[in-house]
């Protein structure tokens, strides 16, 4: 199924582009997602999908397959398997950014293929559920960018190399994004806009991830 989402953020195209190309920023925005490892363009992680009584956990991998800074088009693909053999999920996500005044218009197109039980027994609800998860994902990114609606750090050229820096700046790049020791966590107040939305929908798990997201955002700001 193909899902489309559009939104505008009061951040510059460059800042937005940076965010979208940073796995450790993007991935935690997906509800129930956590990265277990990143390696350049590739990543591994899990996504816990909890909706109503249904609870599934997908383990998988993904990678960026295209980054075109000229057209501000990025594509990444991910595929995972439910840990109990309930089926697979494959997503191909394409984001296109266009300048919109001082801000950026973002278009996210997702091609999602879900096999196995959720599709078999889902009564056709998978479309709706996927749409909601995507909407939350996109909303989280949007909120992050809105909160970062400040002049982009001019000293940072948006080159491929520097975008990959965040991982290598870490003592142990294999650690999940959340466990960055000795970093201050005083960015939580900014998360207050993001947290209630996620918490209402997805409970404690989302709360934790939102905390991670704001933390990462804070780190991004610092550079």
């Amino acid at each position: 199924m193909e899902l489309q989402h559009r939104f505008t953020v009061p951040a510059s195209v460059d800042t937005t582009w940076e965010l979208f190309n940073d796995l450790e920023q993007v991935a935690p925005c997906f509800p129930g997602a956590s990265l277990t490892s990143t390696d350049g363009d590739d990543f591994a992680g899990t996504v816990k999908v909890k909706l109503g009584p249904i609870s599934l956990q997908y383990n998988g991998t993904g990678s960026f397959v295209e980054r075109d800074v000229d057209s501000h088009t990025a594509r990444f693909e991910a595929r995972g398997k439910d840990k109990r053999g309930n089926g697979t999920a494959k997503a191909a996500v394409r984001t296109v950014l266009t300048a919109d005044g001082d801000g950026t218009a973002v278009e996210v197109t997702t091609d999602l293929a879900i096999t196995g039980k959720p599709a078999q027994f889902g009564r056709g609800l998978m479309q709706d559920v996927s749409d909601k998860l995507l909407a939350t994902f996109v909303g989280c990114l949007s909120d992050k960018l809105a909160a970062s609606g400040q002049p982009a750090p001019a000293s940072e050229p948006a080159t491929e190399e520097s975008r990959l820096e965040p991982a290598s700046a870490e003592p142990s790049p294999q650690q999940p994004a959340g466990r960055r020791p000795a970093e201050k966590i005083d960015a939580l107040d900014l998360g207050l806009t993001v947290l209630p939305v996620l918490a209402r929908r997805f409970g404690p798990a989302a709360l934790a991830l939102a905390a991670v997201a704001t933390l990462v955002w804070w780190l991004l700001r610092r550079r």
Binding site: K83, R84, G85, T88, A113, I114, T115, K117, Q120, G122
Partner: protein, 795 residues
């Protein structure tokens, strides 16, 4: 003993309640899943969630270490033993048959294909462990429609075959007086007649029998015993032996009570192969019972055809030629009958009408879906649907009443026996009588008047009338014809009738009932033939050790072929008993008469009952020369021809044009199935058959999404109707006995299904003709009907 002892009343024709029902309905019987063997282990299957992929790796370590797990077996492990699942029908000499492993080795080709097998001490442990098997799939493009499968550049499911087409069968028929083949006839009609073309869809259906498939294999005795909820214990035994290299005499197959099949259990399945191989490997009894969701996904599906029909006719509506082009979806592999199922329809598209020329052009193709095979009617409902929809549509085109058009073209009563353009000789029939009766019961003229009235006042609820005048070929089948069609087995049936010393009877039949009521019907037949009490007869079946000879049950064959074998075997018993009785009565066999269960000397009151003769044969103290002890008869019948039941079904539907809801207002069927052995059983078959046909018209469809997942994976979405959704039917019969067997019977198992689907669809389309609707794809969901009305308005 005198000849005037109380005699049992005539059984054949009597409304006997079924002997088997009490235990079947209360469940006080041993269904396969109820069986247990000492030390029995449980099997669970790891099935692919993806429709087309190469298997990267199968990691079984975690599963092997799970609690209670005895073994985890992959396709690699079984590669040398599992052979290939059999296909027994080459519809053309060039038919392509891909290898069909029970457990996938390097590629999966449909969602639900087995990739690993877990064996554990309990069913729950096996179920837990399958979650721990980690399979890596590398997705391949998915092909979901025969049109895509046969198009240039399509992804090929079986690369070694180089194509997704399994076979292309063309049968060209013409009568002696025909001007040429169907092309010539169509050509002629295009000049001074009418050429009328239509395309119809046969959606994919799931047989959805009530009892999920179950099997238990015990390898510990001298013989390997396989209990399986199957329709075909005999066929299964032979094929297991041939495919797995097990000596046939070391194999015993038992079909215990089976909870419905409808063709869906007419299969040699990967699950059965696996259960036997694993049990043999482990040396312990192993049981596998599928879950309902596995059943819907992986037990074979039915129908699934694209149909194109071209009709050539004269301007007055007399038909002259018919061309049928079919694309039949085989699914990922060829099943047991494979392309044979649509091929059975080849002889039925011409139906009850007289054509000069007829062509049947069938292409069978592979797709990444569950394999298809026989489902109630097996090729004949598809054919009847095509021709009966065509006739109603053509009648509308001509502005002619649909019954009138049919009568113009059908074989008249006085023309029987009639050889059709397809080369079959219909022995008897009376389409006029069945139709007249149906019309009267239906109130045809009154309903037409109401239809006109509703149209006039533009009532949001419209009325439609649909017709289906069908015939079908059943009593499968004369073995020589099967041979000519390259079907690998024969079509005979066997029975033994055994008089026990105490006068009770055992009838051993090669038929394999799975709900049809054979125990009752065979008892009625034997009771009349032997003059023995209905309740003194036991019918034994389903176990190759008890009923060693048989060709099992499908294709509405059991009464016509199996029942005849019982008649023939009973006659042999009576013949032998007569000789013994004559000897006991010190008379010549020519002077001995047999009536009401007793042998008497003509003109005297001296007599011996069958029971007395049976005991004498057992004691053997004084038997005539050349007569062996015991009283038993054996017969194997190979039918000479098919039998041809027919009938007229009329359906009135109300269509709510605001919501698209189709409701059956009245359903009348008048069927001619020859002589009736048990009217209650016939009613049951007709009701059940009609319901399945209505279900195809209005409710059921196996739907796959673009990834190849069956999204009608449970009864929440695969809509099998219940009694609450169905009308009360009016059923009646005419009786034109078959001339080709002594009982005059024709078979009724599939007739209801064959007839009803087009009757219902014709009725709904008829209701909506004023709305610009001329066809709606099945199932006629409210959504589709409403959409057709909206589209019709736009036209």
């Amino acid at each position: 003993m005198t000849a005037t002892t109380d005699a049992p009343a005539m059984e054949v024709g009597r409304d006997r309640r079924r002997k088997e029902d009490h235990r079947l309905i209360t469940g006080r019987t041993r269904w396969t899943d109820n069986l247990s063997a000492p030390g029995m282990l449980h099997i669970a299957m790891v099935r692919s969630p993806v429709a087309h992929a190469t298997i990267g790796s199968v990691n079984v370590k975690a599963a092997q270490e799970a609690s209670g797990v005895i073994a985890v077996v992959t396709g690699e492990d079984l590669a040398d033993e599992q052979g290939t699942l059999p296909n027994v029908w080459s519809i053309t000499p060039e038919q392509k048959v891909p290898p069909h492993p029970s457990v996938a080795v390097d590629t999966v080709r449909f969602a639900g294909e087995i990739v690993a097998v877990v064996v554990a001490r309990s069913a729950a442990q096996a179920r837990d462990a399958i979650e721990l098997v980690d399979v890596d799939y590398d997705d391949l493009p998915v092909v979901l429609d025969t049109r895509d499968a046969l198009a240039d550049g399509a992804t090929i499911l079986h690369p070694d075959l180089g194509t997704n087409e399994s076979a292309h069968l063309v049968l060209d028929f013409q009568t002696e007086g025909a001007a040429g083949n169907v092309d010539a006839v169509i050509e002629a009609a295009s000049k001074d007649g009418i050429v009328f073309e239509r395309e119809y869809e046969q959606q994919r259906l799931i047989p959805a029998f009530m009892e999920p498939r179950s099997m238990l294999c015990d390898p510990t005795g001298e013989q390997i015993v396989l209990w399986s909820a199957t329709q075909i214990p005999h066929v299964l035994r032979v094929l297991l032996a041939l495919s797995l290299g097990i000596s046939e005499s070391k194999l015993r197959v038992v079909a215990p009570d089976v909870g419905g099949g409808f063709g869906g259990k007419l299969q040699v399945t990967p699950e059965e192969f696996i259960t036997v191989l694993v049990a043999r490997r482990l040396g312990k009894p192993c049981k596998y019972t599928e879950t309902r969701s596995e059943s819907l996904m992986a037990a074979h599906h039915g129908r699934a055809q694209h149909q194109k029909l071209t009709l050539a006719a004269k301007k007055d509506g007399t038909v002259t030629g018919l061309k049928v082009e079919l694309e039949a979806d085989m699914g990922a592999y060829l099943s047991l009958l494979g392309g044979g199922t649509p091929t059975l329809g080849a002889f039925m598209f011409n139906a009850i009408y007289k054509f000069d020329a007829y062509r049947f052009d069938l292409r069978t193709a592979f797709t990444n879906k569950a394999w298809t095979d026989a489902y109630r009617g097996a090729g004949r409902p598809e054919a009847t649907f095509g021709i009966e929809r065509l006739m109603d549509d053509f009648a509308h085109e001509l502005g002619m009443d649909p019954l009138e058009l049919r009568e113009k073209n059908w074989i008249r009563h006085e023309e029987f026996p009639f050889t059709t353009v397809a080369g079959l000789e219909y022995d008897s029939g009376n389409y006029e009588a069945a139709t007249a009766k149906a019309k009267e019961l239906f109130g045809y003229d009154e309903l037409r008047a109401e239809q006109a009235e509703r149209r006039d006042r533009k009532d949001p609820v419209q009325l439609g009338i649909g017709v289906s005048t069908y015939t079908e070929m059943c009593g499968l089948a004369p073995s020589r014809i099967l041979g000519a069609l390259s079907y690998a087995a024969g079509g005979w049936e066997h029975a033994s009738v055994r008089m026990l010393p105490t006068g009770k009877v055992e009838v051993v039949t090669g038929s394999s009932a799975h709900g049809q009521g054979h125990e009752t019907a065979w008892s009625q037949i034997a009771a009349d033939a032997l003059g023995v009490d209905f309740d003194d007869i036991e019918v034994l079946h389903g176990d190759t050790a008890v009923a060693p000879r048989g060709m099992d049950t499908y294709g509405s064959r059991s009464l016509v072929v199996g029942g005849m074998a019982v008649v023939a075997a009973a006659e042999k018993v009576v013949e032998k008993a007569k000789v013994i009785a004559a000897h006991m009565l010190e008379a010549s066999p020519d002077d001995v008469e047999f009536a009401a269960g007793a042998f008497s000397v003509r003109g005297t009151d001296q007599a011996k009952t069958m029971a007395e003769v049976a005991f004498a044969a057992f004691a053997a103290h004084d038997l005539p020369d050349g007569v062996e002890p015991t009283l038993e008869g054996d017969a194997t019948i190979d039918p000479n021809t098919f039998s041809y039941p027919h009938g007229t079904h009329l359906c009135a539907t109300e269509v709510d044009t605001e919501t698209g809801q189709v409701t059956i207002r009245k359903y009348v069927c008048v069927d001619d199935i020859g002589k009736v052995v048990n009217p209650l059983i016939v009613e049951g078959q007709v009701h059940g058959g009609v319901v399945q046909g209505i279900a195809q018209a209005l409710f059921e469809e196996a739907v796959y999404d673009e990834s190849g997942t069956l999204i009608t994976g449970s009864f929440t979405d695969y809509l099998v109707p219940s009694a609450a959704d169905l009308p009360t039917m009016v059923t009646d019969r005419t009786e034109t006995p078959a001339t080709t067997n002594p009982l005059g019977v024709k078979g009724v198992g599939e007739a209801g299904t064959i007839a009803s689907t087009p009757a219902v669809v014709n009725a709904a389309v008829d209701a909506l003709r004023p709305y610009g609707v001329d066809d709606i794809t099945m199932p006629l969901s409210p959504h589709r009907v409403w959409r057709a009305i909206q589209d019709g308005a736009d036209r």
